[in-house]
């Protein structure tokens, strides 16, 4: 079956540092990827997405990189702030003509200390 996993369960950084969160996926047919941020007691919040025909996409303070050769995805957060502390999930949209299910990994907990 398909699985999307993250390399590290936790990441601790200092305020102002750049953070890199990694994700590996197994389905070579995956064509759409999303990063979500989930704060305690809340639902996942959309951060940024990327399609398989791209290898980089930038948002406000965030960049997603996609390496299809090694089936690897990363989220870079510039100048990390305490408000960035949360659990980060990558999700893969399983190609299916009938619907659009998201397959999630287990998540990386980002802790930012000031």
């Amino acid at each position: 079956g398909e699985s999307v996993g993250l390399h590290l369960p936790t990441l601790s950084v200092q305020e102002g540092d750049n953070s890199i969160i990694n994700c590996a996926y197994s389905n070579s047919a995956s064509d759409y990827f999303i990063w979500y941020k989930q704060e305690s007691g809340k639902g996942p919040q959309f951060i940024i997405d990327i399609r398989s025909n791209m290898d980089k996409r930038q948002g406000q303070r965030v960049t997603v990189l996609l390496n299809k050769t090694v089936k690897h995805l990363s989220l870079q957060i510039a100048a990390t702030q305490p408000g960035d502390s949360a659990v980060y999930f990558c999700a893969d949209e399983a190609p299916n003509q009938a619907g659009t299910a998201l397959i999630f990994g287990k998540g990386t907990t980002l802790s930012v200390s000031s």
Binding site: K42, G43, F46, T100, A101, L102
Partner: protein
């Protein structure tokens, strides 16, 4: 612009009971998906509704069923509750059946005693 809203926020049930959870999608969205999130885990896909029909289903038993109404809102029903059904149930909405990001509500925390 209202986001995805879910009710209730918390619910306590006992084994064997039945439960109904509700979701209103984000304004402009017509597709609703349901996910189950166990503590410390990523969300797991239950099923997706579009045009009032179940379009795709994850690996969940028939005890889990749903419905979508003409106004695009949705319900998740779980029968014969088990202790293992304790989880955060998340609703996500999106537009159409193409490649679009899904936006999540804050979920319903279901506890089974």
């Amino acid at each position: 612009d209202a986001g995805v809203t879910q009710s209730p926020t918390h619910l306590i049930k006992t084994r064997g009971q039945q439960v109904t959870l509700r979701c209103s999608p984000k304004s402009g969205h017509d597709t609703v998906s349901w996910y189950q999130q166990a503590l410390g885990q990523g969300p797991q896909f239950i099923f997706q509704y579009y045009e009032e029909e179940e379009r795709q289903r994850g690996n969940f038993p028939d005890r889990f069923s749903g419905h979508q109404f003409p106004n695009y809102s949705s319900e998740l029903n779980v029968n014969a509750l088990l202790l293992g059904d304790s989880a955060l149930y998340l609703c996500a909405s999106s537009w159409g059946q193409g490649v679009q990001p899904q936006h999540f509500g804050d979920g319903t925390r279901l506890s089974i005693l």
